[in-house]
């Protein structure tokens, strides 16, 4: 089979850049992860299996993935509204709000954790309002969701903003002139155009939430089997010098996250493939 003719571009060397990319990725990501797998191998298959099927480990993973998924979903919905407002409307204080979005990025996560715990505690500003409703936020899985939603917001907003800016207003007007109602315009015209970016934002927020540790430990209370997240469990194991156990949980987390990110990526390609073809 003959290879397609090499395309010449302005910037130098496919070979050079690919080589660099592979070496860089290996150093930064691949080799540490391999080391993780090698370390876990010392446990043996049976040991690995018994570690990861312990009820405490399973509960922690369930909480981590569940809360991260809920947080990312909440962010996908409300982050979309925030991004839409920031892109579509010009109002007083827009730039200020825009800058505020990045705050969860910038704050040390422990600071976010303490701040969230303070206001959601039963005597805090918001927690006080929740008490009469019988809702307890701090030291419950709800607290975990709140923390993970907080740290994931910038990912959704920042990935959606350029996509929404790309969406010309005249496309909506065209839909309206063809008789489409507002919900129809949203469902058939706007939403399909931003789905790829929305999925990217969701994936980023989800991945970030899975790895989050600092802000959660304060608000969750870390009750084993109830509000203990997987990253915390790993740290706990390490503190008890159970390195094999810690790596086993880490491998489990890694495999599941990788699989989920792959699925999201595939979804995103599938939804973006059609109209990006040939562009």
């Amino acid at each position: 089979m003959r290879l397609p003719r090499r395309q010449h571009s302005v910037l130098p060397g496919f070979g050079l850049t690919l080589g660099f990319a592979v070496v860089y990725l290996s150093l930064v990501a691949l080799i540490p992860m391999c080391a993780l797998f090698l370390r876990a191998r010392g446990l043996g298959w049976a040991g690995f299996w018994s570690t990861v099927t312990e009820p405490r480990v399973l509960a922690a993973c369930r909480l981590s993935f569940g809360a991260a998924f809920i947080g990312a979903t909440l962010n996908a919905v409300f982050g979309f509204i925030v991004a839409w407002t920031l892109v579509r409307y010009r109002f007083f204080g827009r730039r200020f709000i825009d800058a505020l979005i990045d705050l969860p990025f910038a704050l040390p996560t422990a600071v976010s954790g303490i701040a969230l715990t303070t206001i959601y505690a039963p005597n805090g500003w918001i927690g006080r309002a929740l008490v009469p409703l019988g809702i307890k936020a701090v030291f419950t899985p709800l607290g975990v969701v709140i923390a993970l939603t907080f740290i994931g917001l910038p990912f959704v907003v920042r990935t959606l903003q350029p996509a929404l800016e790309d969406l010309e207003a005249d496309v909506e007007e065209a839909a309206a002139s063809l008789g489409a109602s507002r919900p129809q315009t949203f469902r058939r015209v706007i939403f399909p155009a931003i789905v790829p970016s929305l999925l990217t934002g969701f994936a980023l927020a989800f991945a970030r939430a899975l790895g989050e540790y600092g802000s959660v430990v304060f608000i969750s209370g870390n009750l084993p089997g109830k509000t203990e997240i997987a990253p915390l469990l790993i740290v706990t194991q390490l503190e008890q010098y159970d390195y094999a156990g810690a790596t086993a949980i880490a491998v489990l987390l890694l495999v599941i996250s990788f699989a989920m990110l792959l699925v999201i990526n595939a979804l995103q390609r599938w939804s973006g493939r059609r109209h990006l073809r040939g562009m």
Partner: protein, 360 residues
């Protein structure tokens, strides 16, 4: 479907885009809204479509006697074509055209086979039948604009509104599409309004031209009418190249640049300053003087074209241009520095002194 608008105003903050425009658009014709940018032509089109709301106190917008001013764009049944196509990028050409039919309420929505047939008929009409499964990104600019047109026609609009439809295309495609849209209109005869800033485009395609400036209608009429009989200085200036002289009206005669010419307009007007407009093709060159011709020296020649454009100077101060045919150019052996007598075959006089510079 004739369209009538009365006393339509629109302002954006301090900027007044339309100042009390009233207009009749005749049925089944192509009308061009022609004007420079900022003249309000696109705003007027968008108000007719219902994409923009006129200011409080504006008059009715009638589609064949029915006032649609209170109706939303979805209910007006207009076909709107945007300058930058505004196609749905994630849909195929077929789905783009079918969109208007698919979003109808369930009880009005045609069956799939009907939609299928209709879309293919429309794609045939715009000569894109083989492209049904392509995506907009795979089409050229001219093809995209034709898809946009088919999409607008799919909902069987009462009027077709085109906003600078050829504005984003290159010169050659623009010419082809212009001629094609004229032929298409002769075939389907739907009331059409299109916005343009290109006078050639307006004069060539439209049955009627509405010249707009600063939110007002300067003149509305057949292309020949606005070109040959411009109502205002603005129209005169905007439609093609024109020489302008400052002169005076006195004793029933027009005086400018050392000549005195009798002109009907001068008889009706009191003495005073006047502006004289002469198009380059309305000047002819002669070797011998006449009482109403002015002496001038050739300072520039541009002969690459159907006609030869000469730049001439009279009295050392007035510079103007004249178009002569290639035959006359050769017969007179015109060269730079040669002196001729220039005779205005036709001219237009508007009383008053030079308007402020911002107007033109």
């Amino acid at each position: 479907m004739s369209i009538t608008v009365e006393n339509i105003s629109k302002s954006y903050g301090a900027f007044q885009a339309l100042r009390g425009v009233s207009l009749d658009i005749p049925d089944s014709q192509i009308t061009a809204l022609l004007g420079p940018s900022g003249s309000g032509k696109t705003t007027l089109l968008r108000i007719i479509a219902g994409l923009e709301k006129p200011d409080e106190g504006s008059g009715p917008i009638r589609f064949h006697h029915e006032d649609v001013a209170g109706r939303r764009v979805q209910e007006r049944r207009v076909g709107f074509v945007f300058q930058h196509y505004a196609l749905f990028k994630h849909m195929s050409v077929f789905e783009n055209v079918a969109f208007g039919l698919r979003v109808r309420p369930k009880h009005e929505r045609p069956a799939n086979e009907v939609i299928d047939r209709k879309v293919h008929d429309l794609l045939k009409l715009v000569q894109l039948d083989g492209m049904a499964h392509r995506f907009p990104s795979q089409l050229s600019g001219g093809q995209r604009q034709r898809v946009a047109l088919a999409r607008a026609l799919a909902v069987e609009p009462r009027v077709l509104l085109l906003d600078e439809p050829f504005g984003a295309l290159d010169a050659r495609v623009r010419k082809q599409l212009r001629a094609w849209i004229r032929r298409l209109h002769d075939e389907i005869a739907i009331t059409t309004i299109f916005v343009t800033h290109d006078q050639d485009e307006a004069l060539e395609v439209a049955d009627r031209v509405v010249v707009m400036n600063e939110g007002r209608v300067e003149q509305a009429g057949a292309p020949e009418e606005v070109f040959h009989d411009p109502a205002t200085e603005f129209v005169m200036n905007f439609l093609g190249h024109v020489n302008v002289f400052d002169g005076r009206i006195e004793d029933g005669k027009v005086t400018f640049a050392s000549v005195q010419i009798e002109h009907p307009a001068a008889l009706e007007t009191a003495a005073g300053p006047a502006r004289v407009f002469i198009r380059p093709h309305e000047l002819s060159l002669h070797l011998l003087p006449r009482s109403d011709s002015l002496p001038a020296t050739v300072t520039g020649i541009h002969a690459a074209g159907p006609a030869v454009r000469l730049t001439l100077a009279a009295d050392g101060e007035h510079t103007f241009s004249a178009d002569i045919s290639q035959d006359v150019y050769r017969a007179l052996k015109v060269s730079v520095g040669a002196k001729f007598w220039v005779l205005p075959k036709d001219l237009r006089v508007f009383p008053g002194s030079a308007p402020d510079a911002g107007r033109l």
